[in-house]
Symmetry: none
Subunit: 183 residues, 4 copies
């Protein structure tokens, strides 16, 4: 009989614990040793659950994307109009700006270190599809544009904290979209 450890459950626990560590230092700047120590296991154990840093991070992305989509959907699905949904989404993102900024930076950093576009592409598409679903926006270009704005603002505000906030830009964007659709 094997040691009683639910491999998969424990793996996800390790993933969860590792997010903060990645977020704090960035993908390329935190070492597997640091992650292991921060989580409270040996490097050997870490490699027992994940074959490489790259795969560890990929799995982390999949996990948190899933959670984030659930949370964002919960926020906006109860609302009526697209206008409200957009404002609400930007509001939600604004409230957790630090968290989402860290994600963007993490993704970019990961992309730079490996060729690996796959996970990021998949992640982006899942976000866009989920957003289209719950916002009733049917034009992919518009959905894409809105997501671009989010990433762009997060980045901009990473560099310049005084730049316009997500909430403010959310309202502006919602108005622009209304005007455009009402045309």
């Amino acid at each position: 009989m094997p040691k009683i450890v639910d491999h998969d459950r424990y793996r996800k626990e390790l993933l969860r614990k590792s997010f903060d560590l990645f977020a704090k230092k960035g993908y390329g700047s935190i070492s597997m040793r640091q992650i292991a120590r921060g989580i409270g296991v040996s490097t050997g154990t870490l490699y027992h659950y994940f074959p490489s840093k790259e795969v560890l991070f990929e799995q982390l992305i999949e996990e948190i994307t899933q959670q984030d989509i659930i949370r964002a959907t919960a926020e906006i699905e109860k609302l009526e109009t697209t206008d409200e949904k957009i404002k609400c989404l930007f509001n939600f993102l604004d409230r957790e700006e630090d968290y989402f900024l860290k994600q963007v930076l993490l993704y970019v950093n990961f992309y730079q270190q490996h060729q690996n576009r796959e996970v990021l592409k998949r992640t982006y598409q899942r976000c866009r599809d989920a957003f289209m679903e719950s916002s009733k926006i049917t034009d992919p270009a518009i959905a894409s544009l809105i997501l671009s704005v989010i990433d762009g603002i997060l980045l901009q505000r990473a560099f310049d904290r005084q730049s316009v906030s997500l909430q403010q830009q959310g309202e502006l964007l919602a108005q622009m979209l209304s005007a455009y659709l009402d045309q």
Copy 2:
């Protein structure tokens, strides 16, 4: 004329030569040794002109931002309407998408390695101011939003090459803005 001039001229030449190397490998992934070798000088010489990798890169940013603003301004200043200017800008960026994507990635990477927000903030503000100047957009929030869209699209397309292009989104954004302003 004192030697200062030659020193300065040579410094800028080194900067110019180093851009491609940074662009090709990313800020964190190219070493000072590789840069030196690629440029054709010794590491000692590189450190003679730039006190650190960080400073070298800061100066590089300042240089290329200046050049890019000049080029972008030249593209759009001759046009009449804001609508045309936006479309033209996105067109310009689309034509050199790879180049501008590399820049965004470079900036993010630099930001992650050092805490150094200063240069990036300054750079962003210079871009926004120049854009407001030449596009006749007076609302900083709108200008900011447009720049956000650009960065966001570049990033998105880094991950998913099939995502909507800068040119297409430029047209959509221009229409939305027109509708919004004509309200």
Copy 3:
């Protein structure tokens, strides 16, 4: 019949299955984990049957040496003259050159990792004795020389595939020996 039999039978089965894995990667380059996985058991089970990688390999050597001696003897014992026997032996080895080269490499690798000379010495002596027995060569020096030639050629051809083949050298050696003995 006690369980001992099953235990022993299973042990030999594990040995048999592990040879290919050792051969493919070399003694030092394959890990116990890889062997276990390749065989289809857990590392724990492997260590249940063999106290260490070293012992596992020792037992493996004993097993395959026994098999190889049987096969080689079968090849040459039916022949009449020493001359024919030598040619036949080299022919046999040539046909399975890859297999025997792997063995030599494995032995050397094992010798280098541990100081352990014992098994290898025993193995070599068993081979020489068996060869003297079945080839009717009574001078140990001559038998030894012939075996040296075999190992030497295998090694030489490991480095230089164009080097003279076992078969060709077998004929040359047989002629030299005939000339020497006929003197």
Copy 4:
């Protein structure tokens, strides 16, 4: 003006100093750190002179092969008959048996770790050519056979110290060859 170090001379000095370390522990079992420490430099310095452990070893092989060929040639070139030359060569090798055994083991170990056959092939061919040149043996197969015997005996005696010595086998081989050629 650069630091006054004759790069090439120093490189060869490092090579010379590293041989004993390789010989003592084997190619795969000594680490670059251990070599660096043993030589008295930092790992960084070692990597300044050699791009990798593999290349370091390749260069080491080339160096010592050159030296060994010179020494072996000096030993046998003054002699008259092929018979004497062979005996003399085996005598020479016997006197430095430990040294030459280490080389064989090193080569095998290196071959196992990398695919890299190139250097070893080149080295072997240089040895054979030099031997043919100075021994007046014109048949490549015979030269090859003699070299095989040497490697084979070294290996055999690595495993079994009581096995027949190089010197003894040299005499036997010389006689066999004489008989064969006199036929």
